[in-house]
């Protein structure tokens, strides 16, 4: 609700957006400087709320079906916590790098921002590579998408998260390509900020996956 302090004034805010000039002493951070920026971020929050419900549904389905292995390998037999732990560490540090990117963005340091974003991209990509390796390993152990309801539920949930990471990487790629030569402006800032919100969310979901799928799967 803090976003509503000043009710909508598309017309009034727009010229500032075009000029691209924002005084550094002003109270709202750069990503909230324009009406478009405020819209984008509330939109992102709402989208994340909806996505949470989506993931919650997949979690519920997974919990309902995780014992339906139909003779195939169980989670306990499959999961290798060491590997998953490494993946978790990678993803969590990418959250940290994206925070650094946003901090530098607010200081209008485009170069540093891009460097941190690049680091985020690389960490995300290594996470994805590990996940691909992991899935490949499972398939060789006979745990596939079609082998049992457990398989379908597992890959639906974890794979859906993986798809989110992939999409995030594509998005970040587009963001970097577009802004390779540009400064930080109130036009770009909300885009970077929205990405970092998304990225935190994807991380958070992973924390849940780590505990519900892997840890619980190991002890159950």
């Amino acid at each position: 609700m803090s976003l509503t302090a000043e009710p909508g004034r598309l017309g009034a805010a727009a010229p500032a957006a075009r000029a691209g000039a924002v005084e550094k002493t002003e109270a709202p951070p750069i990503e909230l400087a324009t009406q478009e920026g405020r819209n984008k971020l509330i939109g992102m929050w709402l989208f994340i709320a909806a996505e949470s419900v989506l993931f919650a549904s997949f979690f519920a389905v997974y919990l309902a079906l995780r014992h339906s292995t139909m003779g195939g390998p169980t989670g306990k037999e499959l999961f290798d916590l060491k590997l998953v732990f490494l993946a978790t560490a990678l993803l969590l540090s990418s959250s940290f790098t994206s925070v650094m990117a946003v901090l530098n963005m607010r200081r209008l340091q485009a170069g540093a921002m891009k460097a941190w974003l690049l680091a985020t991209w690389l960490l995300g990509a290594s996470f994805l590579a590990l996940e691909a390796y992991e899935f490949n390993h499972y398939v060789h152990m006979g745990h596939t998408f079609t082998s049992s309801a457990f398989g379908t539920a597992f890959y639906s949930l974890v794979g859906f998260h993986g798809a989110h990471v992939t999409f995030g990487l594509l998005w970040l790629f587009a963001l970097l390509v577009r802004n390779l030569r540009r400064e930080v402006t109130p036009y770009i800032a909300p885009k970077v900020y929205a990405f970092s919100l998304y990225w935190h969310f994807v991380d958070l979901v992973w924390v849940f996956i780590f505990s519900v799928v892997y840890l619980m799967g190991k002890v159950a």
């Binding site: 609700m1 009710p7 004034r9 010229p15 075009r18 509330i42 309902a64 577009r178």
Partner: protein, 626 residues
């Protein structure tokens, strides 16, 4: 409805088609939703007539079992997803920005995307008629019946089509929440928002939380149908009941997604035609929120006979009955808005009064069905069919008709003919009760729903015939409406800006509404702002700002292209199983094209354009004098 717009690069004349394909203007998107929804209403209505014709006499041969199930599934799916919601979205798009004093939605581009996703989702579902595998599993798509092993690939069209249009709906929900939170004119506090805006806000929040479970369910459904998934397949340890939970966790809030905006429309119409402010405004707001809140905790009332046990049945049954309380508050507030007023029985008002009677009848049967031991008898019979047509038609369809008669002058610049409007109402209203009242009894006498025929000698003959006659009477009503529309476009006179002595902000805008809605954003000084200013002797609502350049978004073909790409992807995924594996490439092409469009959208700068101040002033001077 010509509005002068000046693209940054200078004036360019656009064809009407191109204009509508690329528009991001909420008023034009409203038109798109409206006409598309109306066409699907005729299609869904035609399917209803087929259903009723087949059931007119026992052992009839108009449709066989398979064809009947196809028509039935398409009727339910079409009416809920491609008629009820889009028609409400049409009115929301047309009205809500005007009511809160905004120049457009928060995300005009996304708004266009939502429409095109709906358009192509509905189209994808209907492509099934060309391929021969039409959905046969009802609008609820229960597994395992929805698996190709039992009904072919029809239900894949259902799943894919709903996935597309559902994404559009979700985005619409987000868009309206962001708009209403961020784009209210100065002084438009939450407790000064008109109720239609309020119900739009709350229905949009419902959408945000109700559609994701459906999305998850549809993903799993598509996996099971087309990719060898097993979530719902008992042979591989899956559980078909999970689909029912996911569907109804969505499905029950869904019925309020189509009911709450309807309530909002009546809350606009009734005060205007009673010339009295809405009775108990705060209570109306709270009741709306309560209905939405409880709406999430009752889904099991669709599953009382699944065998979830007495505890679940009892708890969800009781929770369901609670919704009667806030709904009752609304009903009585409407009645007492009229009480002591000066009631003008225009067409819009006729639909509103008809709504109160009809909806209450549907609501009280809902409460009866919420009692599990009684529902063991009602469930999956014509009693249910009667209930939900009473609420869906008596609520949503009546509200769309009321809204059409009420807002037509603002949307299309002309007044619908009132005499034809009244004929339309009476034919439809009488036909409606003729069709559906008797169905309560049919259900109790033992007629289950979704049957393509029935045996003679069980007492079902006469009631079914009556019901069929009623359906044709409704069809006559719809034809009169169609005539009215044509007549109005051909012969109707231009409407004044404020034909009904309106109360809310949309009536303070000139007709036709300029592209940017408000030359200067208005200053809101209370509930029913226009009415207040008129009472204070002012001609219109005062401006809150000086004239300035107005920033407007650029039109774009990308929403259309992106939806088209997803449509192609969806078809490809189905065709790969239905026809030939190599259609997978078509699907991958569609996915790639989608990503490409998204990439384009994110790398091409689009900072919009500006309508220059001089032009705004010039148009404003014309508008006020009109």
């Amino acid at each position: 409805m010509t509005t002068i717009s000046v693209p940054v690069g200078g004036v360019r004349k656009k064809s009407l088609l191109w204009d509508y394909l690329t528009t991001v203007d909420h008023k034009k998107i409203a038109h798109l939703y409206f006409w598309t929804g109306l066409v699907y209403f005729l299609i869904g209505g035609l399917e209803a007539l087929l259903i009723r014709t087949q059931l007119a006499v026992p052992l009839n041969h108009v449709l066989d079992g398979k064809a009947y199930n196809e028509v039935l599934a398409m009727h339910g799916t079409t009416m809920i997803f491609f008629v009820a919601m889009p028609l409400l979205f049409a009115l929301m798009n047309a009205v809500v920005p005007l009511q809160i004093g905004a120049r457009d939605l928060a995300f005009p581009f996304v708004n266009a995307l939502s429409y095109w996703l709906y358009f192509f989702g509905a189209l994808l579902t209907h492509v099934s008629f060309l391929t021969g595998d039409v959905p046969q599993g009802g609008w609820t798509g229960y597994f395992p019946l929805a698996h190709p092993d039992y009904t072919g690939y029809g239900m894949s069209y259902y799943a894919m089509g709903l996935q597309l249009s559902g994404l559009g709906t979700l985005l619409t929900g987000i868009n309206f929440v962001a708009t209403i939170v961020n784009h209210r004119a100065p002084g438009m506090t939450y407790m000064r928002m008109p109720l239609f805006t309020w119900t739009t806000l709350i229905a949009s929040i419902l959408t945000m939380f109700a559609f994701p479970p459906l999305t998850a369910g549809l993903f799993l459904m598509i996996y099971d149908q087309l990719f060898g998934g097993a979530a719902f397949d008992p042979a591989k340890g899956g559980n078909p009941i999970i689909w029912q939970h996911l569907f109804w966790i969505f499905g029950h809030p869904e019925v309020y997604i189509v009911a709450l905006p309807a309530f909002g429309i009546f809350s606009e119409v009734i005060p205007v035609f009673s010339r009295k402010r809405l009775f108990g405004y705060p209570a109306m707001v709270v009741a709306t929120a309560l209905i939405a809140f409880f709406g999430f905790m009752v889904w099991v009332h669709h599953m009382f006979t699944v065998g979830l046990g007495p505890l679940a049945n009892g708890v969800f049954g009781v929770a369901t009955t609670i919704i009667a309380v806030p709904t009752g508050i609304k009903i009585f507030n409407w009645i007492f808005t009229m009480w002591g007023g000066k009631v003008r029985m225009t067409s819009a008002m006729l639909w509103s009064v008809g709504f109160i009677i009809t909806f209450v009848m549907g609501g009280v049967t809902g409460v009866m069905m919420a009692l599990p031991p009684a529902d063991y008898q009602y469930h999956d019979t014509y009693f249910i069919v009667a209930h939900f047509h009473y609420v869906l038609i008596g609520g949503t369809v009546f509200s769309v008709f009321a809204g059409a008669y009420y807002w037509w002058p603002k949307m299309f610049g002309k007044l619908l003919n009132e005499t034809l409007g009244k004929i339309h109402f009476w034919l439809f209203f009488i036909g409606f009760h003729l069709t559906f009242f008797i169905q309560h009894f049919l259900g109790l006498w033992g007629m289950q729903r979704r049957i393509f025929t029935y045996l003679p000698g069980q007492g079902f003959e006469l009631p079914n015939l009556v019901s069929t006659i009623g359906a044709y009477t409704m069809a006559l009503g719809v034809i009169v409406f169609a005539i009215n529309i044509v007549y109005t476009f051909v012969k109707g006179k231009p409407a004044p800006a404020d034909p009904w002595d309106g109360r809310t902000l949309e009536w303070a805008t000139p007709t036709p509404v300029p592209e940017y809605n408000f030359a200067r954003l208005p200053l809101i000084r209370g509930l029913d702002p226009f009415w207040l200013e008129k009472q204070a002797g002012n001609k219109t609502v005062p401006p809150a700002e000086p004239y300035a350049d107005i920033h407007m978004p650029n039109p774009s073909i990308l929403p259309f292209m992106m939806s088209l790409s997803l449509f192609i992807a969806g078809l490809g995924f189905i065709f790969k199983d239905q026809y030939h594996p190599s259609f997978l490439y078509l699907a991958l092409f569609g996915v790639a094209a989608t990503l490409l469009v998204m990439f384009l959208r994110s790398v091409i700068d689009d900072e919009g354009r500006h309508v220059p101040r001089e032009l705004v002033e010039q148009e404003d001077a014309k508008g006020v004098s009109a």
